[in-house]
Every structure is written in structure tokens, then in C-alpha cells.
Symmetry: C2
Subunit: 122 residues, 2 copies
DNA sequence: TCCTACGATGGACAGAATCCAAGTCAAGAA
DNA sequence: TTCTTGACTTGGATTCTGTCCATCGTAGGA
């Protein structure tokens, strides 16, 4: 655990945090000005491998990093401003895929992204 | 409707087609060698705006374009080789998000991505 | 103290997508 | 027929995101 890694972990702390790697880098730089982008990417990659952080790709742009990894949830995204909320749908989305629709795949994971307009943009 | 646009539309015709912009460009170039990448991107963007084609971002890499836009479906992706299948879950995934979990959003769309290993990779 | 190994650094690089100025083309007007 | 206009295409430059790699620094062990 180096100071760089601690700062990255601290930036990714809180509720409804979904920063891009660049945003993490910007915030980490406020506390540790010389931290490099490569270190942020390396640390994020390690946190993802450790299962402490989830990678989210809600658009075709930059991946976002979600520290809420220990509580299964899905995402609700504003199509206009990009705001992301963690949400908890009823039921198990995985169970909704019938065996006949699995084509022999061993399905292990499901990601659900709800899209719409947030109150401010509506 | 120009020859360039027609060729792009023709490339995106068929079942289970999920090409990247570059793959569309490569296939379009076979029929119209001088077609430029910019034109392919422009045309794909128009087709998406018109609702004729769906943009799919199943990984952090290039977006894919799915011409099966008029039949609601979701995607099943092999985590290893990237193969994509169109699938049809039971029920309406949109209905699984309770009002209390919508936070005032007007939710209009849902994307579900199932992940696992395809028969060849398992 | 010196070595070693791991992590950090920053610049180069690569892939995807967009932007932009210039060129091309076709249809309608004169 | 020739000109004008506007839409479309082109290709190169640029931006954005992410990865790679050679080098550097540093902490801990011998």
C-alpha cells in the first residue's frame, strides 16, 4: 500500500460514485499532485481484479469505476446529462433468461442499464 | 440516398449482425473501394438517429451496430471471445424497476447484457 | 552500506471516434 | 447548356481513452 494507492482508494469512497479514470486522476492529483495517469490506471485495474470496484461502461466513452461492489445493483442513466444512479430492480434478471435462450452459454453475470431523463433534464 | 449510404445499409442487413464501425467500413469498401471512414461514421450515426440501427457497447472497445432494431431484444456476450447473440428474456425488464427506485426519472429504455462463456470457450 | 525488487513516472503509442476544410456531385434555375 | 446551391463525401488532423515501456526512486533485506 503506497500513498498513491491510498489516495486512489480514498477518491473512490462514497455513495453513488461513478468516476471516469480521468476524474479519479484529477481528484487524486488534488491530494498528491505528482501522481501519474499510469498509476491511476494500474491501481484501478488492481481494485477491479480484487473485486473492490466495478467497471461500468454506460456509454461508448470512458469506463466508470463504481466502488459499490459488495451490494448487487444495476444502473439508471440520464440520457441527457449522463447522471448515474444505483438502482435495485425487483427479482433476479439472470433468472429471466430461459434455458432455450442461452444457446449453450454458461451465463454467469448480467448487467442492466435503465435509460431515461432525470428530473432536472425532463 | 447516395451509393455510399446504400452500401452501408446493405452491409447492415441480416440476422445476428453486430459489426463495429471498422468492420462495416471494411465490408463497404469491398463494394465501394473509395468510401471513407467518416462517411461510414456519419451514415451509422444517421441510421441510429432514425431508429433503424441500435448502438451496442458490450465492452470498453469499439461500439457495435445492430440492425435488428424493430424487434426488442437483449444481448448475450461471451466473456472470452466476444461473440454476441440476440436473446429474448421472459417478461419486460423495464417493469422490474419499482417506482421507488426510479428517483423521478422518466425511464424509457432498458439494456440487458448477459455475460458468460459460449459453448466453444467453455 | 549496498542490492534488489516492486511500484511510480511520464512520454510514446495505439485504437476509436469526431472534426473540419476542401472537394464532388446532382438537381433546379436562368 | 451553364451556373448556382446545397447536401454529401473525403481524408487528414485532432481528441479522447487507454496501454506500454524504459527509467527512476525507494523501502526493506543482506
Amino acid at each position: 500500500m503506497t500513498s498513491q494507492r491510498r489516495v486512489v482508494a480514498e477518491v473512490l469512497d462514497g455513495e453513488h460514485v461513478h468516476y471516469t479514470a480521468d476524474e479519479v486522476h484529477a481528484r487524486a492529483s488534488e491530494r498528491l499532485p505528482e501522481i501519474s495517469r499510469a498509476t491511476v490506471y494500474n491501481t484501478l485495474g488492481e481494485l477491479v481484479s480484487l473485486g473492490e470496484v466495478i467497471e461500468v461502461a454506460t456509454d461508448g466513452r470512458a469506463k466508470r469505476y463504481d466502488p459499490n461492489a459488495h451490494h448487487p445493483h444495476q444502473h439508471l442513466v440520464c440520457s441527457n446529462c449522463g447522471t448515474i444512479r444505483d438502482v435495485h430492480p425487483a427479482g433476479d434478471p439472470l433468472a429471466d433468461l430461459p434455458a432455450a435462450e442461452r444457446f449453450g452459454f454458461t451465463v454467469s453475470q448480467v448487467e442492466v442499464t435503465y435509460r431515461g431523463l432525470c428530473p432536472s433534464c425532463a
